[in-house]
């Protein structure tokens, strides 16, 4: 089966610097594909080339086996990382304006309901809160009943509650079979929403697969966490790797029972012991040697 969206050897240079350095992947219809990476990794440049707003230096992008063209414009819904809207017009008027740009459109009240806009439908767009604004931008991206949606860091700057509400909206869209391309530097967001992810750093894909596949491929252990004050190093060698991280001691081990026995033998208090699975954050640290830079 042909890929819904296919990217072949995509390159983008900016004044001699390579922002994207030969990226290739394909996205199947109906999946949420995540591009992960720190700021400056090249994910926004990549997604803007996919959206057709930035021309690649070289490489090819095919939508339904065709180069991006008028059909793609009609069928794509786009939410940029930052978008300014025209001043002095209301939420309703903004949606009506964008609705007139397309041949096939979603009913206005359906989009309003879906994105919970009814409370501020007649409010000037300049007077929206951060979360309300993101919901409006998502509604604009949905107004043409798109087959593919591009969400570029849609929850950056939102508070945790607004972020979780937004995830709920995206889950609803996913459930309707839309194909979604999501960029984010929130690993939890990627893990929750994405069926497949590509981790990008320095303009290249450094790992790709489903979140579970990637974690399984790189880790066979779990992390034991203890408050730093509870961990008292003894003189003898402790044969498990110990890391200090944000006031906590982290011990990576495939053998939880064995590790706990060793800690008890050293007289370490286990009152505040926590055991967590490996996350995409760990994967990124493993792959790049750096933490995700927000």
């Amino acid at each position: 089966m042909a890929a819904f969206l296919e990217v072949k050897d995509l390159v983008k240079h900016y004044r001699g610097a390579k922002a994207v350095d030969g990226i290739s992947f394909h996205i199947r219809q109906g999946l949420c594909f995540g591009l992960l990476g720190p700021n400056g990794a090249g994910k926004t440049t990549t997604v803007e080339m996919l959206e057709g707003v930035t021309a690649p230096t070289s490489g090819e992008i095919l939508y339904k086996s065709e180069p991006l063209g008028p059909r793609f414009r009609q069928e794509a819904g786009i939410m940029f990382q930052t978008t300014a809207l025209q001043d002095f017009i209301t939420v309703r008027e903004t949606l009506e304006m964008f609705r007139r740009f397309y041949r096939d459109t979603a009913a206005l009240d359906v989009v309003v309901e879906q994105c919970s806009l009814s409370e501020f439908l007649d409010r000037d767009t300049r007077r929206l809160s951060g979360g309300q604004r993101q919901r409006l931008l998502l509604a604009i991206a949905l107004i043409n009943n798109p087959e593919v949606m591009f969400l570029d860091e849609p929850t950056t700057g939102l508070d945790p509650q607004a972020r979780r509400n937004f995830w709920g909206l995206v889950e609803t869209i996913k459930a309707r079979g839309k194909t979604i391309v999501l960029t984010t530097h929130y690993m939890e967001e990627a893990y929750t929403l994405c069926d497949e992810i590509a981790i990008v750093d320095h303009g290249r894909i450094i790992a790709q697969g489903t979140p579970r596949q990637l974690l399984a491929a790189h880790f066979n252990d779990v992390i034991l966490q203890l408050p730093q004050q509870d961990y008292t190093p003894a003189g003898d060698e402790f044969d498990l790797p110990v890391l200090q991280h944000r006031g906590m001691i982290e011990i990576a081990t495939p053998d939880v029972n064995g590790a706990i026995r060793k800690l008890m033998a050293r007289g370490v208090s286990l009152a505040h012991l926590r055991i967590r699975e490996r996350t995409l954050e760990d994967l990124f640290l493993e792959l790049t040697g750096t933490e995700l830079r927000a």
Binding site: A84, L85, D87, F88, I89, I140
Partner: protein, 334 residues
């Protein structure tokens, strides 16, 4: 072009402008203040020196000594009929026809009377006297068409050029680029939105100024509307061209000023171009405002019909087409 998309952008732009109270008031009040201010300031006699039109080649004829007189502007003219009308309207104080060895003077013009005495004192016995009559056109009447055109020029250049640069800078254009909207549809909506605004304001100022100070209007209002419409489209198109790629409001402001101020100075708004160096007269023809001012004056002061202003109308149409095509071609969303 899809009218649904064009109409959507047009409506949004109109709403944005009409709801921005400060911009709206500024766009109406400022031109009115400028027109009325200049009308009152220049309601007296024109500040120029004596003006003598000269038709035909100067040589050693009977007017040679007169033409060596200081403090008189001798202005070469190619159209004797048009020049005689200018004498009737007091736009020329005297006209020398060197081919027929005669001169024309308006018997109601004090300045013409004085020049005739000077002419007699320099030995002009060989020149035949021709007399015309007619009340003078006050300087303010002569000034009004140009000042109306000047307001249109600033509103066109800054109202369109600046807005597009702002849209580009804050990302509005980038968002629109990601839709099926074409550059031509977007630009056409900007032209139409600004055009109706400029025409509405010009009509308001025209009526208001006429009610307050009154001025001459011999020609057809429809012809004048046509002149102003074509003039506004050409100047809006110029604004679009300047904003086609610029992403900096500072640079756009500099470019708009660099074009706007010379255009205002050299388009014959304040003084007749006839007294300018021929090189500057030719340079002035590249400015749409020159053609707007000339045609509007001909309609308002001379009662000119469409055939008389056809050259200006065609020039403005051609300028609009060329500027719009280049502007659309050069336009970048980002």
């Amino acid at each position: 072009m899809t009218f649904s998309r064009f109409g959507a952008v047009l409506r949004a732009r109109n709403r944005e402008f009409l709801r921005d109270r400060s911009a709206l008031v500024w766009n109406i009040v400022l031109p009115a203040v400028i027109v009325l201010g200049f009308a009152f300031a220049f309601s007296g006699d024109p500040p120029n020196a004596y003006k003598v039109g000269v038709y035909g080649q100067a040589g050693d004829g009977p007017a040679a000594a007169f033409m060596r007189t200081d403090h008189i502007d001798f202005i070469p003219l190619a159209d004797a009929k048009a020049a005689i009308i200018k004498v009737e309207r007091h736009q020329l104080d005297l006209l020398l026809d060197l081919e027929q060895e005669r001169y024309w003077v308006n018997d109601e013009s004090p300045r013409g009377y004085i020049l005739e005495r000077v002419l007699a004192g320099t030995g002009s016995a060989g020149l035949a006297r021709r007399q015309v009559s007619g009340a003078s056109v006050p300087y303010v009447d002569w000034l009004i068409p140009g000042v109306l055109g000047m307001n249109m020029m600033f509103s066109s250049l800054f109202g369109v050029g600046y807005v597009i640069v702002r849209y580009r800078k804050n990302g509005v254009l980038k968002r629109l680029k990601a839709t099926p909207l074409t550059a031509f549809e977007f630009l056409a909506a900007q032209v139409v939105s600004r055009l109706w605004l400029i025409m509405s304001i010009t009509v308001l100022i025209f009526i208001g100024t006429d009610l307050i100070i009154g001025f001459t209007m011999y020609g057809s209002y429809l012809n004048l509307a046509l002149v102003f419409t074509l003039g506004a489209v050409s100047m809006i198109s110029l604004g679009l061209l300047i904003a086609a790629r610029t992403a900096s409001e500072e640079l756009a402001g500099g470019l708009l000023n660099a074009i706007g101020w010379p255009m205002m100075a050299l388009s014959g708004v304040w003084f007749s171009l006839e007294g300018l160096h021929p090189w500057l007269q030719k340079l002035a023809l590249i400015f749409p405002l020159t053609h707007v001012t000339t045609a509007a004056r001909e309609v308002m002061l001379d009662g000119a019909g469409l055939s008389a202003i056809a050259a200006e109308l065609m020039t403005l149409s051609a300028m609009s087409a060329v500027l719009l095509v280049i502007g659309s071609y050069a336009f970048r969303w980002q």
